[in-house]
């Protein structure tokens, strides 16, 4: 009787352990029917575009029959949580798509493999194949941890017909023109606005501040957010809200505001919007265009973002993973990827392709990319940017807010985040 109980306990323990270990990493070497060794790597892709990743994986498998690729698509919202778990358990993907803003955090935790020692063996990964700004996003404290995959940069989207009505045959070229055009568009009537300022967009203000001559951080890494160049940028952004040219709490998204009568006929966004507008607002075909950003006091540099491909530090299949990353970095692959997802290639060579040279929108992106700079790559930047959004919320929701005082507070907060 006692033996039987012991046996039951043992059996159930084994069962539980079996279930638990089943959750573990699946990347392992197996043998296929013909006796060849097959390596399986798991690739984590993110967002909508990751759903097209299996198609690329098929092409890769056709070239490399002894490597099997398992793609897992994660939504952006939950990807960060999943990556935290992967770092904590030191088990996870072999190759992972990394949003450029996440690189510092995960590279600092040493979760991403430094690719420098492998560059001779995999020349396709070498930095000079890609746009320098994009390489910068994949570099952390001298380590090359993310291979540029696709890039994005922000440009101005505008309704050509509506701007023409208020006297603009071309997109606004300067900040002053932008303000003027937005005001005139807002004056069309009740419930009409000029410029859909995205108050939840982290990088927008830092990008504009650079256009206005702010360095964001000084050489010693101290924040400069209470200096005139930055404060004036915040005042400039707030001016759109104050004079009613930018909607607050309208409850409609950029495209809904853009189509039809054009509730908000200008907005700043990335390349993914081109396809979305074509799909969701076919009624305004030929009535909209993209343009490089209006110039501030210093320049019209945009921000540079996108996604890189990294090899997870704890992978057991480094060689196969590197092969896959190299495959994804090839100009031909990137052009194929662009066809599938409309994302812009990071490879310089890919940009010689006629499609990118001739299409009006892609030409604008190419032009803007020449000078685009990524956001600062420190691990605290994400937290600083989040704090900026709350400070800016206080500014635009309070009538007659003291911008200088808010920015003094924000600067202090940023200092304490950096010194933590």
């Amino acid at each position: 009787m006692r033996k039987k109980t012991a046996a039951t306990v043992l059996a159930s323990t084994l069962l539980v352990m079996g279930i638990l270990s089943g959750c573990g990493s699946k990347s392992a070497e197996t043998t296929d029917n013909s006796g060849n060794k097959v390596t399986t790597i798991s690739v984590w892709g993110m967002g909508e575009e990751a759903k097209s990743l299996p198609k690329m994986a098929e092409l890769f498998e056709a070239e490399n029959p002894n490597i099997k690729v398992e793609v897992q698509a994660l939504p952006w919202d939950s990807a960060h949580d999943k990556l935290l778990t992967a770092v904590a358990s030191k088990k996870g993907p072999d190759v992972v798509q990394m949003g450029t803003t996440w690189i510092p955090e995960f590279a600092n935790a040493k979760a991403l493999m430094d690719l420098t020692p492998y560059l001779d063996k995999y020349p396709g990964l070498k930095q000079d194949n890609f746009y320098p700004g994009s390489v910068q996003t994949g570099t952390f404290e001298g380590a090359y941890v993310g291979v540029p995959w696709y890039i994005d940069t922000r440009v101005l989207y505008y309704r050509t017909d509506l701007l023409k009505e208020v006297g603009y045959d071309q997109a606004p070229k300067t900040w002053a023109e932008m303000q003027d055009a937005a005001k005139k568009l807002a004056d069309r009537g009740q419930g009409k606005y000029g410029f859909a300022l995205d108050v939840k967009e982290q990088s927008l203000s830092f990008m504009l501040a650079r256009q206005n001559g702010s360095e964001l951080f000084d050489a010693a890494g101290k924040p400069l957010f209470n200096q005139p160049a930055f404060v004036d940028t915040v005042k400039y952004m707030n001016s759109f809200v104050e004079n009613g040219s930018a909607p607050v709490d309208l409850g409609i998204d950029a495209i809904q505001g853009f189509r039809g009568d054009g509730v908000a006929p200008m907005f700043i966004s990335g390349p993914w919007m081109v396809q979305l507008i074509k799909d969701q607002a076919p009624d305004i075909d030929g009535k909209w265009a993209t343009a490089v950003l209006p110039a501030g006091k210093d320049n019209n540099f945009s921000s540079l973002g996108g996604s890189n491909m990294s090899v997870f530090q704890y992978t057991k299949n480094a060689e196969a993973s590197l092969k896959f990353v190299e495959f994804m970095a090839k100009p031909e692959t990137q052009l194929k990827w662009m066809e599938l997802t409309k994302s812009l290639p990071s490879s310089k060579e890919a940009w010689n392709n006629p499609v990118l040279q001739e299409d009006a929108n892609y030409k604008v992106f190419g032009e803007q990319l020449k000078t685009a700079i990524p956001m600062p790559s420190t691990k605290q930047f994400e937290e600083i940017a989040q704090n900026f959004l709350s400070s800016f919320e206080k500014v635009y929701r309070t009538k007659g807010a003291d911008v200088q005082k808010e920015m003094d507070d924000f600067n202090k907060k940023a200092e304490s985040i950096i010194n933590k």
Partner: protein, 295 residues
């Protein structure tokens, strides 16, 4: 031999529950306590040698963080307004449904229960549309009656009430079922005796039903209060804690710091403060309940 196994047998039966409780509840609490005294972040998670003990610094910082204090205030707001509303509404619905004898009331029992079994994410997304300032059904109705639109989710105080309204709608069903079950456990003879003495329906409800439901009310109030102290999904999906941190709850603050900004130590300190608050509230309620005599 036989006596031995039969004495041991109960332990085997409760072993799975005990083991699950230890591994998934008690152990994590101690781990969180440990983490709250460290500067654990992503680097510390990847390599424990990056970890250092910083004593009570996390607790001191979190208690002086204006956002955390606002989150505590908001959470109290949710609890103080939400909990009584849930109890009164679900008790009211339960009483009315129980009084009715027609078949239609059985149908309504299901109707009221449906929100509780619907996925909270789906519900929150739909309610976000209802609350939408431009296309929302609620503002559409108000405007068609020539009333002015309400800033449902865009004013810090109104947004809190909007979230409470939705959570109330969701919570009524489950608690109503508990109350109905308790109502049906009250012996009919009490009512018959009262009717013989000439008590009307109102008197029966206040003098027999409510006192007899005391334990059910106690149970519902404790579970509801603990639930509302950990109010999370609704603000997380509908407002992300905004506008101006007006709907930020303590649980959402912990999530944001822990999983978005990777300040695990800081978040653990916040969660411990919440944990102590929940324990304290529960103990106080037990005391109050224990003082009153039982039937």
């Amino acid at each position: 031999m036989k006596g031995f196994t039969s004495r041991k047998a109960p332990y085997f039966f409760i072993a799975p529950a005990i083991i699950l409780l230890l591994v998934f509840s008690l152990l994590p609490i101690f781990v969180a306590l440990f983490i709250s005294f460290t500067n654990m972040d992503l680097a510390g998670l990847a390599d424990y040698s990056n970890l250092s003990f910083i004593g009570f610094k996390n607790y001191i910082n979190v208690l002086s963080d204006p956002v955390f204090l606002k989150a505590i205030f908001n959470t109290l707001f949710y609890v103080i307004i939400g909990v009584p509303l849930v109890i009164v509404t679900s008790l009211g619905v339960a009483l009315l449904i129980n009084l009715g004898t027609s078949k239609i009331f059985k149908v309504f029992r299901v109707v009221y229960y449906l929100p509780s079994v619907t996925n909270v994410v789906a519900v929150a997304v739909v309610w976000t549309y209802l609350y939408n300032p431009a296309f929302g059904l609620f503002n559409y109705i108000l405007e068609s009656m020539n009333l002015s639109a309400i800033p449902w989710l865009t004013d810090p105080t109104v947004a809190k009430l909007s979230l409470i309204l939705m959570a109330l709608w969701r919570a009524v069903g489950l608690n109503m079922i508990i109350f109905i079950a308790a109502l049906q456990g009250i012996p009919k003879s009490y009512y018959e005796a009262a009717q013989l003495d000439g008590a009307n329906t109102w008197q029966q409800v206040t003098k027999i039903t409510i006192p007899m439901l005391k334990f059910a009310i106690f149970f519902v109030s404790i579970t509801t209060m603990i639930g509302w102290l950990q109010f999370f999904e609704e603000p997380f999906i509908m407002t992300k804690g905004g506008p101006l941190d007006g709907t930020m709850s303590a649980a959402l603050f912990i999530y944001k710091n822990g999983f978005q900004l990777s300040n695990f130590g800081y978040a653990a300190a916040g969660s411990f403060i919440l944990f102590i608050a929940v324990i304290a509230v529960t103990l106080v309620q037990y005391r109050v309940q224990a003082k009153e005599s039982d039937y």
